[in-house]
């Protein structure tokens, strides 16, 4: 399944890509919020890992824009410290879950994504979509 990861740190993208490709995801990444929106419009990702702090656009704005383009997107937020208030806003705006960076346990992130993946698969089956 296709998965979009947005983070301004290239090495975090690489690290997540390694793990998720091994799990069978088709991973696309970007460090730019504007590009993330373009990619979403083009490919309608159902799974997104999204950094809360992005240059040029706040994580919550980006989250809302992504949701507007694709309301079915399952978006998991990633956040550094000192932004608990933002987390609350994000969950209120439809984010599915959040993880604090650095990840205590990478497996938990993979599990959350796995759950989201089964959910999307269930939706697709219900809608009679093959993909």
């Amino acid at each position: 399944m296709e998965l979009l990861i947005v983070d301004d740190e290239e090495e975090i993208l690489n690290m997540l890509r390694r793990n998720l490709e091994l799990e069978g995801y088709e991973v696309k990444t970007t460090t730019q919020p504007a590009e993330a929106l373009n990619m979403m419009a083009k490919e309608l990702f159902n799974l997104v890992l999204l950094d809360i702090k992005m240059p040029g656009m706040s994580g919550i704005e980006l989250l809302q824009e992504l949701k507007r383009i694709n309301p079915l997107a399952n978006i998991i937020m990633m956040t550094g410290y000192s932004s608990m208030a933002n987390v609350v806003d994000c969950l209120g705006s439809g984010a599915m879950d959040y993880f604090v960076k650095p990840f205590n346990d990478l497996d938990l992130v993979l599990q959350a994504l796995d759950q989201a993946r089964s959910r999307v698969e269930r939706w697709r089956a219900a809608m009679g979509l093959s993909k």
Binding site: E9, I12, N19, G80, S83, V88, P102, D105
Partner: protein, 382 residues
């Protein structure tokens, strides 16, 4: 006030002594300049009242020497009409005031009273200034700490994430290596060593990132600006009980006296962070009390007005060194370099209390102990 009274004539000194002691001052008598200087060098006084003409060392010379030792020492010269030149010289040298003989006792009382009031004003001003400088410094440090925390957090995330990734990948390699050997493939030298050491390498990396994580966490908590979770009413007494539970082991050797006002109004804050505040303050006291005789901590809560709750923690430790007093709340400052911790406890306290709209201050005296006062705004009805 502590007043050093210097005159070679006991006849003059005695009535002075009587009226000053009567107004509640502590009077230390001295017979001449030399004796006065010896006393002064030994212990500080708030005011010196000295005759001008005395044997061995006169008042002017005493003034000069006192000002070398302590430039802001207050001193009143007692003089006669015939000594006007010396009096002017004394004022030029920094005497606070002069009294002309014969001195009327009410004049003396007024002069002393004026100096006492001036000193109180100066103290208040100084305290205010110190607090202002402190607040400005802490705001700058908060900005710095927050910035550094953010910048370190990203690399720490991918170092940690990659170590975790390696941990996930490694068993596969390990298993393949064992299978290959069982299948008769000649192993490279030291394969066993590498198989044995690699998981330890990964663990050490994870442990390192864990430590970085903790420091970053503390530094981030130090920036209060963007941590604006909604504050709720919190029972400070409950936080104290919780903190005492958490620290039960560390407090075993310490006598705890608590005087918690019942039925306090709740304060505005976050319960876990307020428990942390109490834990950190107590931890600081426990550290100060290490190796001290009869270690004791007194915890008091009061509600001096309907708008404010005070938490007071007093220990009978060695006190905070004068030169350290300006840095107590600074991140990474530790009064005792032997204690191998990053010194973030009290800066966390400062940050949290500020975030809750309160204020934390302390007073400390050598060998008398340290008292922390945390003032928190009331956040609801009882």
């Amino acid at each position: 006030m502590k007043i050093l009274l210097v005159d070679d004539e006991e006849m003059v000194r005695k009535p002075f002594e009587k009226i000053l002691a009567g107004s509640g001052h502590e009077v230390i008598p001295a017979g001449d300049g030399v004796e006065a200087l010896e006393i002064f060098a030994d212990r500080p006084v708030d005011l010196i009242i000295t005759d001008l003409r005395m044997p061995r060392m006169d008042g002017l010379e005493l003034l000069r020497r006192v000002k070398v030792l302590k430039p802001d020492q207050d001193l009143i010269i007692v003089t006669g009409y015939a000594e006007m030149d010396s009096t002017v010289e004394a004022l030029r040298q920094g005497a606070a005031n002069y009294l002309i003989k014969p001195v009327r006792l009410e004049e003396l009382a007024i002069a002393v009273d004026r100096i006492e009031k001036q000193q109180a004003r100066d103290r208040k001003l100084k305290e205010h200034e110190t607090r202002l400088v402190q607040a400005r410094k802490m705001a700058d440090l908060g900005l710095l700490a927050g910035g550094v925390a953010h910048e370190i957090n990203n690399p720490n995330t991918f170092v940690r994430g990659n170590a975790q990734t390696l941990q996930r990948f490694w068993p596969m390699v390990e298993q393949y290596a064992r299978q290959a050997r069982e299948a008769g493939v000649e192993p490279p030298a030291k394969l066993d060593f590498i198989l044995q050491e690699t998981p330890k390498i990964i663990d050490a990396m994870l442990e390192g990132t864990n430590r970085i994580k903790k420091i970053v966490e503390a530094m981030a908590s130090f920036t209060w600006s963007d941590r604006d979770l909604p504050l709720i009413p919190v029972d400070i007494n409950a936080c104290i009980h919780k903190a005492l539970d958490v620290l039960a082991e560390d407090l075993e050797a310490v006598e705890i006296k608590s005087d918690l006002q019942s039925n306090l109004r709740p304060v505005r804050g976050l319960p876990e962070e307020l428990v942390d505040v109490v834990v950190e303050i107590l931890t600081n006291s426990v550290k100060a009390l290490q190796g001290r005789p009869d270690p004791r901590i007194e915890i008091t809560t009061t509600e001096p007005s309907p708008y404010e709750v005070h938490l007071i923690v007093q220990d009978n430790g060695p006190g905070i060194k004068m030169e350290d007093q300006g840095r107590v709340f600074s991140p990474f400052f530790s009064g005792d370099p032997r204690i191998g911790q990053p010194g973030l406890g009290l800066s966390k306290v400062y940050a949290a209390v500020r975030r809750f709209g309160g204020e934390v201050t302390f007073s400390s005296e050598k060998n008398q102990g340290t008292t922390f006062i945390i003032r928190l705004p009331v956040g609801g009805e009882r």
